[in-house]
Structures are given as C-alpha cells and as structure tokens.
C-alpha cells in the first residue's frame, strides 16, 4: 500500500459487508509508526454508517436552506412589486384629487386626502426598507458609487420630511459647512439612511428641534441626526439596530414603528464601509452619528 510511504495517517472509505449480506460504509485507516525496531502499521476499520448518515442530513439541510433563501428573495421581490403597483394607483388617485384635477375640494377633504397620502408614503417607505434589508442580507445589493454634492443631497432629504415635520410642529435645523462639499457614495442609499434617521427622530419627538449636521473629518464625512425626543435606554442601544426590534420604552408608544428603518440604515452604512452609533438617555433625546468614507 502506498500509505506506508508517507509519515502521516491516511484513511479510505470502502464498502463493508455484514454477515447478513448487507453493505455498510467502513473507513479503513493505516497509520505508519516508525520505531528503531522498524516501521509498524496501525490499522483500523471503523463502521461509519452513522457519520455518513449525519453528513447526508447536513447536506440535505444545506440544500433546503439555500432553496428557502432563494425562495425568500423571490418572494420578497414579488411581494414588493405586487404591493407597490396598487400603492402607485392609490398615490396617483390621491394626487389627482389633491391637485383638484377633477374639481375643487374643501379643507376637510384636503385634510383627509393628505392623511391618506402620508400613509401611502409611509407604507411605501416600509416596503422599500424591507426589500433593501433582504437584499443587503443576501449580499445582493449593488452599490452605485458616484460623486455626490452634499448640499443637494441634504436639501432633498429635508424636503422629503417637510410634511411630517409640519404635522408635528417640529423644527429641523440644518448645520453644514457653507463651502461646496462632495463625497463619492451611493447617493440614493445615503439619502435613505438619513431619511430613516430623520423619520425615526420625528416619530419619537413630540416637541422641539431636530438637527441634521454634516461635519467633514479627515477621510470621512460625519452626519449627525439629533433629536429632543423620548430617548433610548443604554441597554437598548444595540437592539434598536436589529431588524423588527426596538427599544422597550418605544414599544409602549402608540406610534411605535416597525423596527426596520434603523436596521436597514446600519446595513447600508456598513455596506459603504462606514459606521453608525447612537448616544442617548431616556428623556434626553438621541444623537445618531454616521461616518461615511469620502472615497469608498
């Protein structure tokens, strides 16, 4: 046997035959032992039926998991399309009435339609976040890096939350350097991170101000969203970034969210090789900080 020529143990698998004629897998090991008296061989024959069975089970489980994961992605993509399409009609219909394309509306009707529209937007954001989370988790989110003007990006983000701020009578203060500032990033995804943080701040702040800051550091840009809301106890600082989870304190609120926005924000930031942190105490508001590299 060639096994004798190598100084380490080797084993091969053969089929053994039991007394009753049934076959079973055996592992035959040959282990050379070199002594002064000469080279000896330790041989072993092991019935590996059980090991083989477990290996087969693991393989099957892995295949089933891969299939399930694939099905999950297809399912989420399909659901997203099937939800967004009717949502699109609902939004257009509301816009048509609000734009008075089909006749004048009174203030009560306008209020009702604005509420409907706000909730359509909210549902749309939720769908986008869940879909993005599933893509990010599966490593299927392709980032599109491009040079992005931060003044423009911040303006667009702030514009998107105008109605929500107005509804709760909250102030939003932008603080960013007056000189032009750009970054190479996936601008849509960066917008989504800031929007998620702002929406989170709006949701949990009943009165006061929200600050959105942009602070250039050496190789990174630091974004900060600070609110004067209910705050988050320290023990929940990690939990709030996990999907579908949120602070215990916030769960009691009527308007408690879905626990999706911050989880997605964290994954997007990590995908862009950045970092996200929170500092907060109950009753003292919260500050979320995001660092994004200037060049990926």
């Amino acid at each position: 046997m060639p096994l004798l020529n190598v100084p380490w143990a080797q084993a091969e698998i053969y089929l053994g035959c039991a007394k009753n004629g049934s076959e079973f897998p055996v592992e035959i090991g040959l282990n050379p032992v070199i002594t002064k008296a000469g080279t000896f061989v330790i041989s072993s024959v092991v019935d590996i039926t059980e090991r083989k069975y477990i290996e087969e089970q693991i393989k099957k489980t892995n295949e089933a998991l891969q299939l399930a994961n694939q099905m999950k992605s297809t399912f989420i993509s399909m659901v997203s399309h099937e939800l967004r399409t009717p949502l699109s009609s609902m939004k257009s219909g509301t816009d048509i009435l609000l734009d008075e394309l089909e006749g004048p509306i009174n203030e009560n009707q306008r209020e009702t339609l604005n509420i409907t529209k706000r909730n359509i937007d909210r549902l749309n954001r939720l769908i986008s976040n869940v879909l993005d989370y599933s893509r990010l988790e599966a490593g299927k989110m392709a980032m599109v890096y491009e040079k992005t003007d931060l003044h423009e990006l911040i303006n667009e983000v702030c514009h998107s939350v105008t109605t929500d701020l107005h509804e709760k009578n909250l102030q939003l203060t932008q603080e960013l350097p007056s000189e032009p500032l750009s970054i190479v990033c996936d601008s849509d995804k960066c917008k989504q991170v800031l929007l998620n943080l702002l929406n989170n701040a709006i949701k949990f702040t009943e009165a006061g101000t929200i600050w959105l800051r942009v602070i250039p550091e050496n190789d990174t840009i630091r974004f900060e969203v600070q609110d004067t809301g209910i705050g988050i106890p320290k023990e929940d600082h990690e939990k709030i970034f996990r999907m579908f989870e949120q602070s215990q304190q916030r769960e009691h609120l009527k308007s408690s969210g879905s626990g999706v926005g911050l989880a997605v924000a964290k994954l997007i930031v990590q995908e862009q090789k950045g970092k996200i942190t929170v500092t907060s105490e109950p009753g003292k508001g919260a500050t979320f900080k995001v660092w994004i590299p200037r060049n990926p």
């Binding site: 009717p86 257009s92 816009d95 394309l101 749309n124 599109v144």
Partner: protein, 123 residues
C-alpha cells in the same frame, strides 16, 4: 399648447396605473395615449411618433427592455426619449447606465418629480 400638444405614450399593463397617470399628464396639456401590452406597441409608436414614452418593464407578453432595444435599433424611433417606469427599483441602474434610458421613474412616483421630469424632457 393648443393643437400642437406633445404626444406622450404610456405602455403599462396595469390599467389603473396607466389611466391615473394619463390624467395627470393630460392635465399638464399633453396628448396622452395608453397602451396596455407590449405586442403591437412598436408599430403604434412608429405610426404615432410620440415625443415621449413611459415604458413599464414587466409586461405580460414582451418585456419593456425588449421593446426599448427594438426602439433604439429602429431608425425612425431611436431618438424618442424613453422613460422606464417600474416598481422594480433595483433595475434603475441597469436601465440608465447599461441601456441608456432617458430616465427611470419608480412606482409609486412623486407627482412633482414626474411633472419636472416631463417638462425637462419636452421643453
């Protein structure tokens, strides 16, 4: 705009979406036509010569992407601005950067952004 109103085609099998969008675009003063399937749309575009086409990606017969490619290879239609219009936002990068579409509108769309886009293309 009077009799010379620019022509906008919407190709989308989701009739509700197309109908409501057509109302919004018509209100801006454009002449809007809705087509609800891919089949025959190329011929209708050839004969109608719209100034702008909104094209859904997922159509039941021919995909919007196939229609786009055929239009781009067609001598008479290759200059027509084509805006993809889809709930599949993940296709945006491909449609804009690989195919070279004029724009990509995600469903549900923001009306103000839609108005600005149409104006910027048809001005």
């Amino acid at each position: 705009m009077g009799e010379m109103a620019s022509k906008v085609y919407i190709i989308d099998d989701e009739k509700d979406v197309a109908l409501l969008m057509s109302k919004q675009i018509r209100a801006l003063g454009y002449d809007v036509t809705c087509l609800y399937k891919g089949e025959g749309s190329l011929e209708k575009i050839r004969s109608g010569r719209p100034h702008l086409v909104f094209l859904d990606i997922r159509l039941p017969d021919i995909s919007g992407i196939e229609i786009f490619k055929m239009l781009r290879e067609d001598e008479e239609c290759k200059e027509i601005p084509i805006v993809f219009f889809s709930a599949h936002s993940e296709q945006e990068h491909y449609c804009l950067n690989q195919l070279g579409a004029t724009a990509f509108v995600k469903k549900p769309y923001d009306l103000l952004e839609l108005k600005n886009l149409i104006k910027s293309i048809l001005q």
